[in-house]
Symmetry: none
Subunit: 133 residues, 4 copies
Amino acid sequence: MISLNYRDARPIYEQVKDGLRHLVVTGALQAGDKLPSVRALASSLAINPNTIQRAYESLEQEGYLYTVAGKGSFAAPQADVNLARRAALLEQFECSAAELLFLGMTPEELCLLLQQAARRTAGQQGEEEDRND
Amino acid sequence: MISLNYRDARPIYEQVKDGLRHLVVTGALQAGDKLPSVRALASSLAINPNTIQRAYESLEQEGYLYTVAGKGSFAAPQADVNLARRAALLEQFECSAAELLFLGMTPEELCLLLQQAARRTAGQQGEEEDRND
Amino acid sequence: MISLNYRDARPIYEQVKDGLRHLVVTGALQAGDKLPSVRALASSLAINPNTIQRAYESLEQEGYLYTVAGKGSFAAPQADVNLARRAALLEQFECSAAELLFLGMTPEELCLLLQQAARRTAGQQGEEEDRND
Amino acid sequence: MISLNYRDARPIYEQVKDGLRHLVVTGALQAGDKLPSVRALASSLAINPNTIQRAYESLEQEGYLYTVAGKGSFAAPQADVNLARRAALLEQFECSAAELLFLGMTPEELCLLLQQAARRTAGQQGEEEDRND
DNA sequence: GTGGTCTAGACCACG
DNA sequence: GTGGTCTAGACCACC
């Protein structure tokens, strides 16, 4: 599910982080679902387990998953996502929005994008609920 | 006009890049306006000319300015601004929006933030136009 | 009475230890009271008896209970509680207090928290005494 | 200044973290002061640089220091200490206080300890101010 | 088998 | 010379 791009400027562990976070955010991994073990994911992506370990630690720190030594790592409920992460996201959102506005995009266009994104999010969460029936 | 923050995690040349890009994007530097020479800006910011040089090269590649050998560097017209920048910003915008929506923010709240940002932007662009009268 | 949290980073046997210690410390288990057998508690918590055994051994070493071969484990009188525990707690107390003070909290604010904690403690100990009437 | 204890249950990087945090908290390192480089501290403690690196990363994350790639790490002002750390400290404080109260210490005794700690903290910060005259 | 920690040693970007 | 990233491989605690 996660794809690595070695030509990407981002370090590998961040690509892994973003990939896993995306799985949680989109609902592909529901709260409590078990993530692949450090070693399993490492071998499946053909990278060093330490790199995966680092991504997991960082995601735990951000609140996207929790880890139980000897058991594995599990997706956390949304509520656990930490405040620093929320602040970082808002910063990123406002910053990119501001520059897009500078570049001539209108608030209306961006709002439209927002609503499309909202529909996608709702759709994905709906699918999950359906799947769990 | 450009302020460096040595406590910032971003490398210096990126801070310079962002500062210059902002000047072009906001219209503080109009198409054809001459940018300070590498050496002048370097001494004014008290940093190594190599660092400025690197920022200029990168900005030229992104389309924000063009350089004439022996003459200097000049702000590019907005139309020339590399589409890649717009695409990157849109990606960042949609990505952060999606995650904020997941975290429980509503499209309405985000739209409100957009409108506030738009008001700030309008203010700044107005100032620039006034100053150039 | 003991609740396990599998999402907790602490290993299970430590959660068991903390739970049992709390029962002794609060007086829910009075000196001489018999603790559940290793097997009974293990099955009641649905965990491995080895895990309970380890918790019991550790608590005995700390002085919170004593074991009579062939009879079972019993709560120790408060006086027997290992001084090491008190010292560890004091260390932790002073250390966190010092850092909180550094961060700008006043001794008065911390004292207030202490008094609230004292009121909660008194409440619990009262309940225990009532129940044992 | 930092002493490692290999018989301690805490991992090395946490001992390093605690040692460095203590230096910042007591004012031995004032905001902006440079910390020893990763490699220098590693060789001075005779441990692997990666272990130091991990401690530094974690402390940066908690807000006790900030790092500039290629320049080094520097003590942060108190204000930067992150909310998660404050919450963790309060939790630790209340928890140890509660158990000490259970064990028979009175709120008055603990308050006394608090005031002594406050005097020590004030003393250390005062020394620093004196030193900077 | 799981994650947690540590070491040794490598390469890169930055200034 | 500084920190940032990654690898390879080791040992431990926990279940």
